[in-house]
């Protein structure tokens, strides 16, 4: 494992559990970047498909990619903003991520795709924006892009404006 506690980000190779191509071409599924034992389990209790399991409250979430339907409920509840959906739709890559900043990009808008260090790695289109909490502008955003490989590294977006 790379030195993520020195720099504050994971490398692609550190994401130990990544779903197979076969699964994610059917529908998107969740990937977890929650890798430390911390007392937190709303992802487990919010999943109605029992797709996320954990040993006690301090365990690390383990995803069952077969059971995950890609509903995204855990993405919106995760306090650490550490869950993402990844998928392939047609010839395009797709990532769903939590987004708590302003401005919130609109559906159809072009955005910069950012990696775990905030570096621009391409451009994509906003496919969907939902606001799971009624009281805030905290959003869960789905972006699509041409380079399928990027599903492993797109973890943030920024408005082109």
């Amino acid at each position: 494992m790379s030195n993520y506690l020195k720099y504050g980000y994971l490398e692609v190779k550190d994401v130990v559990s990544f779903p197979s191509l076969k699964i994610i071409t059917k529908h998107p599924v969740v990937v977890s970047e929650c890798i430390q034992e911390i007392p937190c389990n709303p992802c487990v209790t919010s999943c109605q498909f029992q797709a996320i399991s954990m040993e006690g409250i301090n365990g690390i979430p383990v995803i069952n990619f077969e059971k995950c339907t890609g509903c995204g409920k855990c993405v919106s509840i995760c306090p650490g903003l550490a869950l993402f959906l990844v998928g392939i739709k047609g010839k395009k890559g797709l990532v769903t991520l939590p987004f708590e900043m302003l401005p919130v990009p609109l559906k159809g808008e072009k955005v910069y795709l950012l990696d775990r260090k905030g570096k621009e790695i391409g451009q994509g289109d906003v496919l969907r924006v939902i606001f799971p909490d009624k009281s805030t502008k905290s959003a869960v955003i789905t972006v699509t892009f041409d380079n399928i490989e990027l599903i492993k590294s797109v973890r943030n977006i920024r408005s082109l404006k």
């Binding site: 980000y9 430390q36 034992e37 007392p39 937190c40 306090p79 905030g118 905290s138």
Partner: protein, 466 residues
């Protein structure tokens, strides 16, 4: 001029406009706001002058814990302006030197007495949770709070909380605070805000509110006074614009005021990481987070959230110096080796107007010390903490404790501790709470099951008595 107009999580509503006088000039404020916040909102950074070297001083903690914001108000010196609500026509003056009492002071109001079976000092998560527990068993406690509003530091936590469903995981801290406060208000639990408990004498608490002295007689007392931000030594640490990270949070998340334009955060524990992210949400530039340790101390997920927005986190790096004339203008950091020795030539100059310190918290044990409760210094708990038993009872049999004052942890553990301490007091009153208490102790131990809590658990062993 420092207004936050849009925010992804919060909506700010202001009370009616008021005016007060600061050094002969009229300053605008909103009802419900404190003097220090109103001054800062209108661009005033300097609140006093140091007694000997006449250096400018601004606020530091913004929650009534330190003495950095003391000013002269209506002629009275040494008033903590960060917790003093603005009143129309108030006269505020910059403090020079140690402050002199005026020749004539309006007579203090006659002291009055209150009798209560239980009093709680501090209305953060521990205090509120205790008050609600008392209410559930038919006991109305009195809450004493020195800030203008209830909720302690929970009201400024905009991030979603960890934990399990029981601890409302996935809910934002300020929303948990709103629920607790609503519960208190709807059940007519007595509370007094803007009220400073300053002394404990056997079964009597001395409390001041404005010029009103109150003697509160109580059989049981729960002290949940929380903690204060640590200041660390470096040249320029007194220049206005050097804040505790919690002060930045109070400014932006409680009052909708930008703490600065461009910020350097010192310390990559959870507070530093969370506050840096919240600064981004308030539209403020965070240049970097620096951390003296070789690794990030807070949760990795908090660091990852920040990195995704391009904010660098520099480990094995420390603050060397802050420069500025009337306000921070520059900060200089330097890399350090394994022995924490500075490595020459590795200085970085940052053009920032604000430096936030998140280098740890110190339990606010002053009242406990004054009351004669035995204290012990435990590094992993943050400093001096009260010696107490499993029921959170101190060596002074009528005084109980809960929350950060017994060791720096999380709001979720504070809520449980307040609950347990209240159950223990209820048990002493003869109510049947033992089973519930034991269950809650088990829940608390579960929350401390992560590797992050190892040092805390070791520390707690040192202060637990029979």
């Amino acid at each position: 001029m420092r207004e936050i107009n849009i925010h992804p999580i919060l909506q700010f509503s202001h009370g009616k406009e008021l005016k007060f006088i600061f050094d002969g000039k009229t300053v605008k404020a909103y009802e419900g706001e404190t003097v220090a916040m109103a001054l800062y909102r209108s661009g005033i950074d300097i609140f006093s002058e140091s007694p000997k070297l006449h250096r400018p001083r601004g606020m530091f903690c913004a929650i009534g814990k330190c003495s950095s914001c003391m000013m002269r108000v209506n002629g009275i010196p040494n008033i903590r302006t960060c917790i003093l609500p603005v009143r129309e026509e108030m006269v505020v003056e910059k403090h020079e030197g140690f402050g002199k009492l005026p020749d004539y002071i309006e007579k203090f109001a006659e002291p009055f007495e209150i009798n209560k079976e239980v009093a709680i000092i501090g209305s953060g998560p521990a205090g509120l949770s205790a008050a609600i527990t008392f209410k559930e068993f038919g006991i109305k406690a009195l809450i004493i709070e020195e800030n203008p509003q209830l909720g302690g530091q929970l009201i400024k936590q905009t991030h979603k909380f960890f934990g399990s469903e029981k601890e409302k995981a996935g809910t934002r801290g300020f929303e948990i605070a709103q629920d607790l406060i609503k519960n208190i208000e709807n059940s007519s639990i007595d509370y007094i805000t803007n009220s400073t408990a300053f002394a404990i004498d056997e079964n009597k608490i001395g409390v001041f509110r404005d010029n009103q002295y109150m003697k509160i007689y109580t059989k049981y007392l729960l002290i949940a006074t929380g903690a204060a931000e640590k200041m660390i030594p470096f040249p320029g640490n007194d220049i206005p614009g050097v804040f505790g990270a919690g002060a930045a949070q109070t400014l932006m998340n409680v009052f909708g005021i930008k703490p600065g334009r461009s910020i350097l955060m010192i310390g990559a524990g959870n507070v530093g990481l969370i506050v840096s992210y919240q600064l981004l949400q308030a539209g403020i530039e965070v240049k970097a987070v620096v951390e003296a340790m070789p690794t990030i101390g807070g949760y990795f997920v908090h660091a990852a959230k920040l990195r995704r927005f391009g904010v660098p986190i520099l480990t094995s790096t420390t603050i060397k110096e802050v420069r500025g004339n009337l306000r921070v203008e520059k900060a200089i950091t330097i890399s350090i080796d394994k022995k924490f020795k500075e490595i020459p030539g590795t200085e970085i100059k940052w053009n920032v107007d604000t430096v936030c310190l998140s280098t740890g918290l110190i339990p606010s044990v002053n009242l406990l010390a004054q009351a004669g409760c035995k204290l012990k210094y435990v590094t992993s708990l943050g400093g001096f903490v009260p010696v107490r038993n499993k029921d959170f009872q101190t060596t002074n049999k009528n005084i109980f404790v809960a929350g950060d004052v017994i060791g720096i942890e999380e709001a979720s553990t504070a809520i449980l501790e307040g609950h347990i301490a209240a159950l223990a007091i209820l048990e002493k009153m003869g109510l049947k709470t033992k089973k519930l208490k034991m269950e809650s102790i088990k829940n608390l131990n579960n929350l401390r099951g992560s590797p992050f809590s190892k040092k805390i658990i070791e520390g707690l062993k040192e202060v637990e008595c029979e």
